[in-house]
Amino acid sequence: MNWKLLALVIGAVALLAAAILATDVAPLEALQTLLRGSLGSPRAIGGTLKETTPLLIAGLAVFLALRAGLFNIGVEGQLLVGAMTCTVVVLRLPGVIGVILGVAAGMVAGAAWAFPAGWIKAYRGGHEVITTIMLNSVAALLTTALVAGPLKAPGQESTTTASIPDALLLPAVASGEDWSLSLALVIGVVLTGAMAWWLRSSVGGYELQAVGANPTAAETAGVSSRRVTTLAMMASGALGGLAGALQVLAYEGRFYSGFSPGYGFDALGVALLAGASAWGVLPAALLFGVLAKGGTAVQILGVPKGITGVVLGLLILIFAAVRYRRVQCPA
């Protein structure tokens, strides 16, 4: 630990404490409420796990791109088009086949949405951050226009699609009186393991990380960094689409305008916290889930919900500072 990092951490903690004190709430009480609201009861834990699910899968999407040296800020948009496409397909083609095709269509839509960003980065040199931010806005506006127009459920006042029948939604793996554990979260955990294995043990995973670490060296070794960049972005987009599709099938049951409260953005924080291994995405997603669920409880104390945004920003900064320091000073 060096003094600069220490200063950053102390500054962040002091800022948070000062902010909470300014609202006449004792910081310790706020922390207690946050933990009780997110982990204090089976019901609270169930809610936390529900929040964790989209963050985990979207976090894996960002993480994969990050390993290839790409900042996919576009997961938010990819998640939106994935969720909408999945909903449309499942509503048109009922039955289990429809659900499977719906998930596949959601992933394809996400990949298609990420493609321009990857292609422009690889072949035109346009920074993927700018393109994905633009594509996020396009996705938000497009999906809003569609659910307000052609996809709007007949007889509905609000801008939403029709609801998918309960029988077609993903079942709970386990459940109790006032909590349940959705299959979607289990899929997310399995995916985490699969990605960790793929990155470590497959040729594709190695090539992807080689391009992320040093595109010139990878090129010299015979890897087409342009092709890998484009494909990595699309794979990341497919995962973003999957996050949206599973969110529909596990929890929401329909697509509506304002579907995502910013899962894609929080996912960036998740992936940055994760460190170098895909397994790190799990605890990071859980931490963000706790913050999201506990934040609602703290609001009741009179601490505005914006405080979780500030915590998120500071966490990202501190962890990024630690991480980049480690990368740049190998010794």
Binding site: G126, L142, A145, F265, G269, L272, I307, G313, L314, Y324
Partner: protein, 283 residues
């Protein structure tokens, strides 16, 4: 007022904050600092302008607080990208998150009951004048003055600039300081125009300003013209809302999506070669 006058006036009102923010983007991006944090800096400035303006019943204090808040965010940006060497994009995301959360916090914690008061303000015309003068001044500065040329040099190749005796950290410090001032003005103008602060009131304007800057090839005057184009599209959309064009109702999203789609096409190189500063994001 005739329809045309209203259209032109609202184009000016909608473009001016975009221009100020885009010029803020110019002073940092040309120095090599990727700035996706324009949005957060504007938002912070808007909240501070409203909060202090209400508290002190003074327009100058409100404006100064707005500029000060944006400068603080901007110098934080400098500190974490240049001193802590955090990736520029990650820093920008974090600053946006802190600003969005922080303004929500400030708004709820300090102003909620006092929301009714009127915020003292400077005339909007002052901001219009600035929106014309600033791009011209930056254009001149970047071509003819020593600090301006240093900024471009650092943005194009920080290593070579260092060899020539120009300190990138110092140049970027002043570049980001200018970003703070300009984003502060942009945020203050939003509050002046709306008459109050609302949660997330920048609603993507920082990103549109960045898009305009890119579209203008990171040059001040074309960038400002792109802002006017986007402002005009929005003004047109507001005026056309609910009316029919050739028998069909066009969703307002079609107009709103325009800046983003045009920018992606521009980045794909369809509108000419990319002219991004070569040192963008480098340490």
């Amino acid at each position: 007022m005739s329809g045309l006058t209203i259209l032109l006036l609202s184009t000016v009102t909608l473009s001016a904050p975009l221009i100020l923010a885009a010029m803020g983007g110019f002073t940092s991006e040309r120095g090599g600092v990727i700035n996706i944090a324009l949005e957060g800096k504007m938002l912070m400035a808007a909240a501070a302008t409203a909060l202090v303006g209400l508290g002190t019943h003074s327009a100058p204090f409100g404006l100064l607080a707005g500029i000060g808040a944006a400068i603080v965010m901007s110098l934080l940006h400098w500190l974490i990208t240049q001193s802590f060497r955090v990736d520029h994009v990650v820093s920008g995301m974090a600053i946006n998150a802190i600003a969005l959360g922080g303004t929500n916090f400030l708004d709820k914690a300090f102003t909620d009951p006092a929301h009714a008061g009127e915020i003292p303000k400077f005339p909007l015309e002052a901001y219009y004048v600035l929106a014309v003068l600033v791009p011209l001044a930056l254009w001149f500065a970047a071509r003819r003055t020593r600090p301006g040329l240093h900024l471009l040099a650092v943005g194009s190749d920080p290593d070579k600039a260092r060899q020539m005796g120009v300190a990138p950290l110092r140049v970027r410090f002043f570049g980001l300081l200018a970003t703070g001032v300009l984003c502060g003005l942009a945020g203050a103008m939003l509050v002046t125009n709306a008459g109050r602060f609302t949660d997330g009131m920048t609603s993507g304007r920082g990103f549109i300003a960045l898009a305009a800057l890119i579209l203008g090839g990171w040059r001040p005057i074309p960038g400002a013209l792109a802002c006017v184009g986007f402002g005009f599209a929005t003004a047109l959309q507001l005026q056309m809302q609910g009316t029919e064009l050739a028998g069909a109702r066009i969703p307002s999203e079609v107009w709103q999506v325009l800046p983003y789609v045009v920018t992606v096409i521009a980045l794909a190189g369809a509108l000419g070669k990319s002219r991004a500063p070569a040192g963008l994001g480098k340490l």
